[in-house]
């Protein structure tokens, strides 16, 4: 069992750049609230947010608040410095999580603050918030407590 704890990702990205279609996601994130874009006309979720619903081409979006219950779809464990700035963050765990109650759309994110050896594909995960760059709040996930 790998007892190491998944750390927060390195502060490589700097600030988040947004446009009219992605800004609501990040504005909510800044307030530690997860919102997912759902077509207001036909109810199809999409991620990341784009100008048109791929199903009906409506441009109306309902930003649905989400409690953050998700499933760990896949992950990678980064344990080696490739560029400057990674040194203090190893090991960290970039991941894709899936929201079963939002038509299975997925978010590219990080798994943090849990034992790396306990990670399993399809494990339930729950939302937490990280701030690798001060002032930029990002959604992240950790293994659901009852499963650890």
């Amino acid at each position: 069992m790998d007892e190491r704890i998944a750390r927060h990702p390195p502060a490589l990205g700097g600030r988040i750049v947004t446009d009219a279609w992605t800004a609501p996601f990040w504005e909510a994130a800044a307030m530690r609230e997860l919102v997912l874009p759902c077509c207001a006309a036909c109810g199809t979720y999409r991620m990341p947010p784009t100008p048109f619903c791929p199903n009906c081409h409506s441009q109306s979006i309902d930003w649905m608040r989400h409690a953050g219950a998700a499933v760990l779809y896949s992950y990678t464990i980064v344990d080696r410095v490739l560029i400057d700035g990674m040194e203090g963050s190893l090991p960290y765990v970039p991941a894709v999580v899936e929201f079963p109650d939002a038509q299975g759309i997925r978010l590219i994110t990080n798994i943090v603050d849990c034992r790396i050896g306990a990670l399993r594909v399809d494990a339930p995960v729950e939302l937490t918030w990280i701030e690798p760059v001060p002032g930029t709040v990002l959604p992240a996930f950790t293994l659901s407590r009852e499963k650890e």
């Binding site: 990702p9 390195p10 490589l12 990205g13 700097g14 600030r15 988040i16 750049v17 947004t18 446009d19 279609w21 992605t22 990040w26 999409r46 991620m47 990341p48 791929p54 779809y73 896949s74 992950y75 990678t76 464990i77 980064v78 344990d79 080696r80 490739l82 560029i83 990674m86 963050s89 960290y92 970039p94 991941a95 894709v96 759309i105 997925r106 978010l107 590219i108 994110t109 990080n110 594909v121 399809d122 690798p132 760059v133 930029t136 990002l138």
Partner: protein, 394 residues
């Protein structure tokens, strides 16, 4: 395919008549040569090989952004160009750029087309290229997670494939060891000492489940090919290598793929090549059983296994056992990446694979597959387009 395809096909109407390459340098090792200089050297070598001259070139077909045609004309003395175009996307277009050039020739828009790929990693290593992308609204959704390079991102697909199908690191190891085994006998390959299973498993994990040897090399170099009509090819220096088919594109289910991550489950754990592969075989009039050797875009070992599945050499999910059975070795049922591939010979945006397929079909490859008649080449699984190419002995 449509019934009109017999009159609207590039099949056997063009041929690769020249190939040229610079040495494959270690990352940054090609300086003080410039990138355009490497490109020029590869083009001149390819022209020498073909018996044509710079004055004959009237077209360029690129991928991955291409190069400055005006500058190349200026320095190489190419008098006039009638066609200069590029596929969109990145390394996914390498095999497809041959089809772009062939389409121009068949359409009468050019007679002699150069396709060329080159990279020089002195200032930016490709292993961490994702981290160098400028911040945009689109990459905000993956840029902050510490996925610093393509190998980190593709590790997510690899783990899903392992989860769905039971693929193992031993399977990835076989791809790496097989490639190295071919490189050992390729004098131009960068990595020429055999790789053992012990060394593979002792290597650092860069992005679990990808270790160091699952990543391709970071190389400088350039590879160019010269393409012309089948008719003109008959009068040139080399035995012509016929373009049977070249397709590019892909489905919306794959789309931006590694920058999107919302592919349906079966497509997620794939190389995104399934539709391109199906059209490629239909256009070429051959099937997987006819392929004598395959040059798969091997930026990562896991993606070789997924391409073997997408190109129909085994069922989906069976790629791991397929390689474990020895099929991809030089003496196996499907010899792949016979020069050592991007994993062990050199990485030039996929164009090394076009070069190696041509060598195989001319019969002068360093690790010659006996009586090779049909060769498959693929262009990098990445965001669309991905591409494929089938070449035949002329």
């Amino acid at each position: 395919m449509t019934t009109a395809s017999s009159s609207r096909t590039i099949r056997n109407q063009t041929a690769i008549v020249g190939v040229g390459a610079t040495p494959y340098y270690r990352r940054g090792g090609s300086v003080p040569q410039t990138l355009d200089e490497l490109v020029g050297k590869a083009i001149l070598e390819a022209l020498r090989d073909s018996g044509l001259t710079a004055r004959d070139v009237d077209g360029f077909a690129y991928f991955s952004g291409g190069f400055d045609t005006g500058y190349l004309m200026e320095t190489l003395g190419i008098p006039e160009v009638r066609f200069t175009a590029s596929l969109t996307g990145t390394g996914g277009g390498s095999a497809g750029s041959i089809g772009l050039g062939a389409a121009a020739i068949v359409a009468g828009m050019a007679d002699v087309v150069v396709c060329v790929g080159a990279n020089q990693q002195a200032s930016q290593r490709f292993g961490a290229i994702t981290s160098a992308y400028p911040a945009t609204p689109g990459n905000a959704f993956f840029g902050a997670t510490g996925l610093v390079g393509p190998g980190h991102i593709f590790a997510l697909l690899a783990r899903r494939h392992m989860h769905l199908y039971g693929t193992t690191r031993d399977h990835f190891a076989e791809v790496a060891i097989s490639a190295r085994s071919n490189a050992v006998t390729n004098p131009e390959a960068r990595m020429r000492t055999p790789l053992t299973r012990e060394e593979y498993f002792a290597a650092p994990m860069l992005a679990d489940p990808h270790c160091l040897f699952d990543f391709c090399l970071e190389t400088d170099g350039a590879v160019a090919v010269v393409l012309t009509s089948a008719e003109r090819a008959r009068d040139l220096c080399q035995p012509p290598v016929s373009v049977l088919a070249s397709t590019h594109g892909g489905t919306r289910d794959w789309g931006r793929s590694i920058y999107w991550m919302n592919m349906p489950d079966k497509v997620f754990a794939s190389s995104g090549h399934a539709s391109v592969a199906a059209r490629l075989y239909a256009e070429a009039g051959v099937g997987p059983a006819d392929v004598d050797c395959a040059q798969f875009y091997d930026h990562f070992t896991s993606q070789v296994i997924m391409q073997i599945e997408d190109y129909g050499f085994c069922e989906r999910g069976e790629g791991g056992p397929f390689v474990a059975d020895g099929n991809i070795r030089i003496d196996g049922a499907l010899p792949i990446n016979t020069d050592g591939g991007q994993l062990s010979a050199g990485y030039v945006w996929g164009m090394t694979h076009v070069r190696e397929a041509v060598q195989q079909l001319r019969g002068d490859a360093c690790n010659q597959v006996r009586d090779a008649q049909v060769a498959l080449v693929t262009g990098g699984p990445s965001n669309l387009p991905v591409s494929g190419l089938i070449l035949g002995r002329g």
